[in-house]
């Protein structure tokens, strides 16, 4: 298996170089320095920025230099936020993104798998029909509606009405786990679930609701397909309980398409959900990238795109490996 992973990685290196080439070329179509400084920069300002990113060098030199610096995540300094490197801003944006994307992904996957199993098991009956109508309704409503309703009824209203229980902040983010400087020097570990609930639970709930409509319908189709397979009746004839049949026999078979689906949403873990981060004002990867694009912060854009592309490629390789783990018929070779 490791040989396979290594070979896949090697195959994908040229692909990755290609992505970087396209990205770098595209970002240079419009002069990035002009974009950032506006129409009338002084020659000194121009020169300083060009030197900073090596934009005065031939493209091929820039390309090679950029690639050489990728392994260290060295993408230069942010133009907008002077004195911080792209790497710093990148690393700082990861925990806020993960704080709500990991729970969203896990909760959405687990809840929709259980709902779809129930739905598939009672297919054609009122339970199934009700669940599927809810799923279609859920996915037909815009993301924004959930965000605004969530912020209004989940955060704003309880606060205005001065309820004793007003757990959610309307937006914003504060660290809830990590190391903190202590007065008098040194640092200590801190962990505050209530801070997480205040800032992250509402976006998680919205994210789960939005994902569930699509996921449930997809998983249900997979499960219904499995329900008609012969091995189900073999298991029943062996004396297996329905729960065993659903959660052992069917689920392991259904895992193959489920894995595909979950894996396609994996990059979202790292890149964050741009919409959620923007509306809940969470300083994650998505929001940082959008802000950088709005600011014409050229080094940031270049660095973030390079990282996102790498994450995508690694996810695809990981998907292949997981396939082989869940389906014995798949051979990695």
């Amino acid at each position: 298996m490791w040989a396979y992973v290594l070979r896949k990685l090697l195959y994908n290196i040229p692909v990755y170089f290609g992505i970087i080439l396209l990205m770098m070329a595209a970002l240079r179509v419009n002069d990035p320095v002009n974009n950032y400084l506006g129409k009338h920069p002084t020659p000194e300002q121009r020169l300083a920025l060009e030197k900073d990113m090596g934009l005065d060098q031939p493209f091929i030199v820039q390309y090679v230099m950029f690639i050489a610096h990728i392994p260290l995540l060295d993408f230069g300094d942010s133009w907008k936020y002077e004195g911080t490197t792209v790497r710093e801003r990148l690393i700082r944006a990861v925990p806020p993104s993960l704080s709500f994307t990991v729970p969203t992904l896990l909760a959405a996957a687990m809840i929709s798998i259980v709902v779809s199993l129930v739905s598939a098991y009672y297919r054609g009956r009122p339970v199934d029909k009700t669940l599927m109508i809810l799923a279609v309704l859920g996915m037909s409503v815009s993301y924004l509606v959930y965000i605004i309703l969530g912020q209004f009824f989940g955060a704003f209203w309880p606060r205005e009405a001065q309820w004793s229980l007003a757990p959610f902040a309307i937006s914003g983010y504060e660290p809830w786990i990590g190391m903190k400087d202590v007065e008098g020097g040194g640092s200590a570990f801190f962990f505050s679930p209530t801070t997480w609930v205040t800032y992250c639970l509402l976006p998680v709930i919205v994210g789960v609701i939005v994902a569930m409509g699509y996921d449930t319908r997809f998983y249900r189709a997979v499960m219904v397909e499995e329900c008609t397979k012969d091995y189900i009746i073999t298991a029943l004839a062996k004396g297996a309980t329905k729960r065993k049949i659903m959660f052992v026999h069917m689920l392991k078979n259904a895992l193959i398409p489920i894995v595909t689906r979950v894996m396609t949403t994996l990059p979202f873990l790292i890149t964050g959900s741009i919409l959620l981060e923007m509306f809940f004002n969470i300083p994650g990867m998505g929001k940082t990238l959008i802000t950088a694009i709005n600011d014409n912060d050229f080094p940031m854009i270049q660095g973030f795109v390079a990282v996102f592309a790498a994450v995508m490629i690694l996810t695809i390789i990981l998907t292949d490996v997981i396939y082989a783990l869940v389906d014995p018929r798949v051979r990695l070779s």
Binding site: I233, L236, K238, G239
Partner: protein
Amino acid sequence: MNASTNSTAAPVLSVRNLTTSFRTDMGIVTAIDGVSFDLAAGETLGIVGESGCGKTVTSKSIMRLLPEHLTIYGPDSKVMFEGSDLMKANERTMRRVRGDKIAMIFQEPMTSLNPVFRIGWQLEEALKYHTDLNRSERRERAIEMLRLVEIPNPEHRVREYPHQLSGGMRQRVMIAIALCCEPSILIADEPTTALDVTIQAQILDLMASLKKKLNTAIMLITHDLGVIAQVCDRVLVMYAGRVIEDASVHDIFYRPQHPYTQALLESIPRSGGKERGKRLPTIEGMVPSLHELPSGCRFSERCRYCEDRCVQEEPDLLRAEDGRRVRCHFPLSADRTAAARGET
């Protein structure tokens, strides 16, 4: 193989008036109607009939494997097994019976095994539900069962997946799973249909020898009269959801009493003899749709001896003195059969 009907021994399974209907988009359809028969311990009972006559529904009804929300069992249906009526048993009791006392093998060995679990796991699953054996004892038993069904190198095979085995091998695994708890009844639903002929013979031989070893009663469902002749003691002939004839295998083949049985036998190709060069006889017409059954005898439309009474009134399944049963107003006698043979 013992050709005589073991009528004196108490039956291990007694099916009475088994009626199974399905809810469909076109209304309620009765797939089998008043099926009654006994299965003696150690007996091999063949159930034969063309596609859609209710063979599989009969077997699945006995184990209550049909989808619950679509199936309606008749109120006076009875499946007596070990002194209790399986039709009235709860799910828990049924689970204890399934796989332990009554086991089943299916037509499609290619898809009947779960593709993502190892052979050993699937064998041990049944043992886990029905025995107190611990993990290593279950593994030993699984290997022993694979050896019993003549799978070479069983220690290695238990760790393989179904896709690594051939069709015949998989059917052997299915048999091993079915027999691992030593059930008193094995229901085999067309176990050889999907296999090629040489493998068919091997599987049938295997079933016959295992039956002798374990004294399991077998219900063999098939549409292949050749298979019936090879392994069965007694035969139940079904037509459009009804049992129409029940007799020993010898009587069915040499002295059929129902015109349908007779027609069925005539449509078997024979090698040599005077039929050579002639067209193979077929049964005219088609099996009636379960939605539009004829008013009288269900075979009347296709019967060459059909009379007025047959169209007006459905015959009962009557038992003769010798234990044979036939559902016909005018059962064939030996000379009538001979006369019919002479005509064709």
